[in-house]
Subunit: 252 residues, 2 copies
DNA sequence: AAGTGGTCTAGACCACGTC
DNA sequence: ACGTGGTCTAGACCACTTT
């Protein structure tokens, strides 16, 4: 009992991928509906005359894609698309701007070495008066100011500030260049806010313009904070888009 | 040549998982640094006296976790943590509120059947005057208004509006209940904005308070729009948090 | 030619759920 | 007792990279 019309064993395309696409299509077209059981692994193995391990590889891909779920001792079932979750995925400003077909450019407003005051010392988890590096940067898209960032790193290495850092700046690069340890983790918090006076001037907008406010903290492997940053970006120019569910390619 | 001190073959814990954790730890502690090559699959297989397929399973987990990458014909290498990407992952309001230890509750301001005007018809991709269902809901956390949602769905089924829908409302549930087709995809756009008069009153804040504005569109399997919604949530009460890199559990 | 990861096989035993 | 998915083995051949 076998069916070669679906799976071509002589094809260059891996068998597991062919089977994955076959089942994916069955789900997409509604032939298999949420809650329905898939054929058992043995059944698929026999039907297409392929080994069970190969079937399992295909099912693993479906599980990873969130389209099916398995239950030990029971079977494999079609999942309901989870549409109530939202995932906003964005890259650094430079890549995001380029991706939209615009030209990124950044202007360094200020860079200096300072001694940490109480507030900064707390943010970086260091002692007061520790030497720190301060950066103020404005990021432009096609000549228009889009974001305003303030960054701090501990300045332990006395490394000179390189031109290259100013060209495509990101907090983690900054942290990597001026720290003894390797940045491995980051935490970012996004809030809705509006500009105050200084920020309005820098971004060239009216005071009170809606903005996103993002606080970033970068950690090394020992969970020590090695950098802290605040980014403000214009709500009228920047949107976060999220696609959820199956085969979201079509609506992008 | 084998080493049983790392991998315990008699343990209940799967071998591939033990190996995964072992390598993960080597990377985490810096014993293996970004760019370093992992031992070859054959080498790991012989060293721990386990089959190559099991070694591959462990490596697959590391690849999925973004900690290593493979190159055909060359080897497997430790990846650099990508810290410039941001992923904001949030559930529906009810789950988010519960997760923060607060009590969610929603109040239905209005629900009625309307005929689509031009603007709504365009948003839902339907003809003008098509019958639609309108929902206006305020969502509370511990008695304090947090979000204000306006939702529209095409009203083809004449399904009665159930009490259960009002208890834990979400746009996709609404769409599922009042549409002939199954919601399988959604698009959400997040913007920074501020309240206007009506929204300020409903949320009990001053006009001009910073808010997140989220536009949701729900599609069925044929990419027809079956629901559209606008959600406004308070910027002073709601934050989006994102963790990136390796082992972000520790800093949560 | 030798070594690497990518795919695939045909078995095996296990824990779990159902009957 | 039986069927299910979860793990594991000891081979095999392939495409690719390096020597």
């Amino acid at each position: 009992m076998q069916d070669e019309t679906i799976v071509d064993k002589s094809s260059i395309i891996p068998i597991y991928y062919q089977l994955f696409k076959y089942v994916e299509n069955q789900i997409r077209t509604g032939e298999l509906k949420p809650g329905d059981a898939l054929p058992t692994e043995m059944e698929l193995s026999e039907r297409f005359d392929i080994s069970r391990m190969t079937v399992r590889r295909a099912i693993l891909e479906l599980v990873t894609a969130g389209m099916v779920y398995t239950q030990k001792g029971k079977g494999t079932f079609v999942a309901k698309p989870r549409l109530d979750n939202v995932v906003f995925d964005l890259n650094n400003f430079y890549d995001e701007i380029r991706q939209k077909g615009m030209k990124p450019y950044s202007e360094l407003l200020e860079t200096k070495i300072i001694k940490a005051d109480e507030k900064l010392a707390k943010r970086l988890g260091i002692a007061v008066d520790t030497r720190c590096l301060l950066f103020r940067v404005v990021i432009f898209a096609d000549g228009e100011p889009l974001a305003y960032e303030t960054r701090y790193t501990v300045y332990t290495k006395s490394t000179p500030i390189l031109e290259s850092e100013l060209k495509d700046p990101s907090l983690s690069n900054l942290a990597a260049a001026h720290s003894d340890t390797v940045p491995t983790r980051s935490k970012k918090v996004l809030m809705a806010s509006h500009t105050i006076n200084e920020e309005s001037k820098v971004l060239g907008v009216k005071p009170g313009t809606p903005v996103f406010l993002m606080i970033q903290t970068i950690y090394d492997g020992d969970n020590h904070i090695i950098a802290w940053g605040k980014a403000i970006f214009r709500g009228d120019r920047y949107k976060l888009v999220s696609y959820e569910g199956w085969n979201t390619e079509d609506i992008k």
